[in-house]
Amino acid sequence: VLAGILIALLGLAAACVAIVIAQRLVGPVEAPPRPRAENDLENEIETLRLMVLQLRLELTQAERSSVSRDLELRRDIGSARRNPVGDERSLVLAQAPLAGTG
């Protein structure tokens, strides 16, 4: 009886050791790597998204520059009308319609 109990305990101990070793060495099943084509497609989508953002940024900068130039032109027209210098540019500016002012 004692030998039987001893063998059973030794077997259980060996099983515990084997289970711990197996858990450490093998571990759970990992998710399989995604196909290369799918990864490439996602990279391309990300690149296109970055390009769209960059174009939008450039468009915003261009609009801002355009507004700035427009303001500068309005200021020049107003200045030419108030103080006509007599040169050709001042004459053209003084006769130019000022949009938005009626």
Binding site: A3, G4, I7, A18, P28
Partner: protein
């Protein structure tokens, strides 16, 4: 998926060896319980552990070396003692020598529990974690 791995462990590892030996003993008008008292539980324990090892090695190709090492540990730590005890008890029986039935029953039951536990853990390691 887990059930697919458990079925061979229970069927091939435990039920078939013990059932076939008990069946042949019954055909020869021997008691089916002699399959247990003769130490066949050690055989079922060894078979269950081997089945679990086969399931692990055949399923985990991503870590084949580690799975092989773990299986080797089981083969040395559980299967070899099981088959050794089974062979010892079988030889004692064949040569009409005295042997301890308590060793066959208690030791065999303990080893069977241990081997089936290991086999089930191995089967769980073959399944995808959610």
């Amino acid at each position: 998926m887990m059930l697919v791995g458990v079925i061979p462990v229970v069927l091939v590892g435990v039920v078939l060896p013990l059932g076939l030996i008990a069946g042949f003993l019954a055909l020869d008008e021997g008691s089916p319980m002699e399959a247990v008292t003769h130490g066949e539980l050690f055989l079922t324990a060894g078979n269950a552990a081997v089945t679990g090892c086969v399931a692990l090695v055949s399923a985990r190709h991503d870590r084949l070396i580690n799975a092989t090492i773990a299986s080797f540990v089981v083969l040395l730590g559980i299967v070899l003692p099981c088959y050794g005890a089974w062979a010892f008890l079988a030889v004692q029986e064949l040569q009409d020598r005295a042997y301890s039935e308590a060793l066959a029953v208690i030791g065999g039951a303990g080893m069977t529990i241990a081997a089936v536990s290991v086999a089930l853990v191995f089967v769980r390691l073959t399944c995808r974690s959610k």
